[in-house]
């Protein structure tokens, strides 16, 4: 109750208003404060954590934290081992997740994750006005006015980190009687039941895995075959932790994974009758079930933002954004957290970014705040000059260890301007799609990429004056250590043109 009694950020005018207290909202607030940009953080929840205050239903995350990496936990490079902690500049506020895990799994439990986020907010001194629900938005002057349950907030820039959190079910006849994933009951209540799960993504397989010990029979159905992450070489697809139902199916063990669309769901005296159309051939199939659960996903609760001009797309109703997570139609409206997955980036070989997860979104938030500060508040970040003779080693060290490049492969890159007079300047971590599409002075960007064979290798993008960036892929290394003489030679060759021969 302490937070409710001493509620910060009363209604009024703020340069920036951040909506949401999940990982995206907290990370945004942290970096805004680092830059000295005054802002209010509003949340309808009672405490920090966002979706992790409730989900995943079976209480174990899909994102790893490995407490015992070979690096000090306060080293930036340790972030590769820790997908769940939020970023901080102060060493004592880094890698909080690793401190809280009980050793039973490299995947934290949901309560551990919730505690991780609450501890981060407390240690970094972030303030949130909890119990304050954003209800409406309108333009006012050069900014926006946000109507909330506590009153009106006016701001030049608004950041929405409201998650992809609204349960969504298709309008297929009969689905109105079907429970959504969020309505799943205690596992024991499914004992001996015939269960039908609509949806074959992680949430569907999470339920199937958790209910394997209880259900009599489990049918999972959706029109397309299930993808597995080990086959897609990315987080796209069902994660290894949830593959047990697949094995049960191939062994004939009471799990059925169907490629079928659901035509309608009918109530019966003691359950449901699900009418399906097989994807192959279109033949009808009827499945009797005691319980039907729609693991059909979530949408982004953007309320009236579309009426303001924010274009949304897809089943999740994600906003259309620039490469810096700003609304493509309404400048001054930004998005953070899982919504960031709406920016596709390069999407090479169809592989998505990890922007929908904490280990991707946390870096996006840092870049987004820098962009917001430069674009709307005139901030000019200090540029760091690099020694020309150390440039190749620096880039190869980055591509071997930089957590941003490994957690957001082919999406974020280390960029360096190659000014012929002043020498190289570190431009920091940038969205790769922005780098390769912008015109500018000679520059190089390096990142980690995965190809269609699963090979992980460095990719270098060199831009010479007046010409578009040229892509070159470097060789992979069996232990992902790219600091070899061959890599050094190859990269130096690539940089010769852009540095007028200064790098040899």
């Amino acid at each position: 109750m302490a937070e409710l009694e001493e509620r910060p950020f009363p209604p009024g005018e703020y340069p920036v208003v951040v909506v949401g207290s999940g990982p995206g909202g907290l990370q945004t607030s942290y970096f805004l404060r680092r830059l000295g940009i005054e802002h209010a953080v509003l949340s309808a929840d009672k405490s920090a954590g966002g979706m992790f205050r409730q989900f995943p239903f079976f209480q174990r995350l899909l994102s790893w934290t490995k407490p015992f990496g070979h690096l000090d936990r306060h080293d930036r490079r340790y972030e590769w081992y820790d997908w769940n902690s939020l970023l901080a500049v102060e060493p004592e506020n880094r890698a909080i997740m690793a401190e809280l895990m009980d050793g039973s799994s490299s995947f934290p439990s949901r309560p551990e994750m919730e505690q991780n986020l609450a501890t981060y907010a407390q240690r970094t001194g972030l303030q949130v006005r909890y119990g304050c629900r954003w209800e409406s938005t309108r333009r006012e002057g050069n900014g926006f006015a946000l109507g909330t349950s506590d009153g009106e907030y006016r701001c030049r820039v608004a950041v929405f980190a409201v998650g992809v959190a609204e349960p969504w079910k298709p309008d297929t006849p009969g689905f109105e009687d079907v429970a959504h994933y969020v309505d799943t009951r205690e596992a024991a209540s499914y004992a001996g039941k015939r269960l039908f799960i609509a949806g074959k993504q992680n949430s569907g397989f999470e339920l199937a895995t958790g209910l394997l010990p209880w259900a009599q029979r489990i049918v999972l159905a959706s029109p397309r075959p299930a993808k597995l992450s080990v086959n897609t070489h990315s987080l796209l697809g069902v994660r290894a932790r949830y593959v047990q139902p697949v094995e049960d199916e191939v062994l004939g063990g009471g799990v059925f994974i169907l490629n079928a669309s659901i035509d309608r769901v009918e109530r019966t005296v003691d359950g449901f009758r699900v009418h399906c159309l097989r994807s192959e051939g279109g033949t009808e199939l009827t499945v009797e079930a005691d319980e039907v659960i729609a693991a059909t996903g979530f949408t982004s609760p953007l309320l009236d933002l579309p009426e303001l001009g924010v274009s949304v797309f897809g089943q999740s109703r994600l906003p259309s954004m620039t490469n810096f997570w700003e609304s493509a139609q309404v400048p001054g409206i930004y998005f953070a957290g899982t919504i960031g997955q709406g920016v596709p980036g390069m999407k090479k070989y169809g592989l998505p970014s990890n922007s929908g997860a904490v280990h991707g979104g946390r870096y996006n938030a840092r870049i987004m705040v820098d962009h917001l500060a430069r674009t709307h508040f005139g901030h000019r970040p200090e540029r760091v000059q690099l020694p020309l003779d150390g440039l190749v080693d620096y880039l190869l060290e980055e591509v071997t260890h930089a957590p941003e490049l490994w957690n957001q492969k082919s999406y974020l890159a280390r960029a360096v301007s190659l000014d012929e007079q002043a020498g190289p300047y570190d431009d920091g971590i940038v969205p790769l799609a922005h780098f390769v599409d912008e015109e500018g002075p000679p520059a190089v960007a390096i990142t980690v990429e995965t190809d269609d064979k699963g090979s992980i290798h460095p990719a270098v993008y060199v831009r010479e004056r007046g010409r578009p960036a040229v892509e070159t892929l470097l060789d992979p290394h069996p232990l992902h250590d790219f600091r070899t003489p061959d890599h050094r030679r190859r990269l130096a060759d690539l940089l010769k043109g852009a540095t007028a021969g200064a790098v040899r």
Binding site: S261, L318, M346, V470
Partner: protein, 141 residues
């Protein structure tokens, strides 16, 4: 442009490329391909870059540019990216959104299997590619 699944299937059924597919097949297509949105000016395919994909335009317009020179425009119902994926080579052109683009995307590695599963789509794609080739030949002669 947020379409419900039913609206998306309806939209797909009106596109020449998918004209021969049954409703369950269209639903499968809608589930297999991901919806993406690109702001005006964004490059979607990049000349000389590896790992590109296949796109079908649901709304909007793109320019095809070779070395910066526009050679064609595509709009709703048109597709692009298939040449580079099928040949296993980087695109020979940039494809740039001329206004907000809403498209369906299929990762390059999935295209071959997708076309094998839907031979009528492959046939219609082949016809379109043949027409593009014929038009290009006429233009040159």
């Amino acid at each position: 442009m947020a379409l419900s699944p039913q609206q998306l299937v309806d939209t797909l059924s009106g596109l020449t490329l998918f004209a021969d597919l049954s409703r369950p097949q269209l639903e499968q297509v809608a589930h297999k391909m991901s919806e993406e949105s690109f702001p005006e000016g964004q490059r979607i395919l990049r000349q000389g870059f590896t790992g590109s994909g296949f796109y079908v335009i649901l709304d909007g317009e793109v320019a095809i540019r070779i070395d910066g020179n526009e050679v064609a425009r595509l709009a709703k119902g048109d597709f692009f990216g298939e040449m580079s994926v099928l040949l296993g080579e980087p695109p020979v052109a940039d494809v740039v959104a001329l206004r907000q683009l809403h498209a369906l995307h299929l990762g390059g590695p999935e295209l071959e299997g997708f076309l094998s599963e839907h031979p009528t789509v492959m046939f219609r794609m082949l016809k379109t590619v043949a027409m593009r080739l014929r038009n290009a030949s006429r233009w040159r002669s």
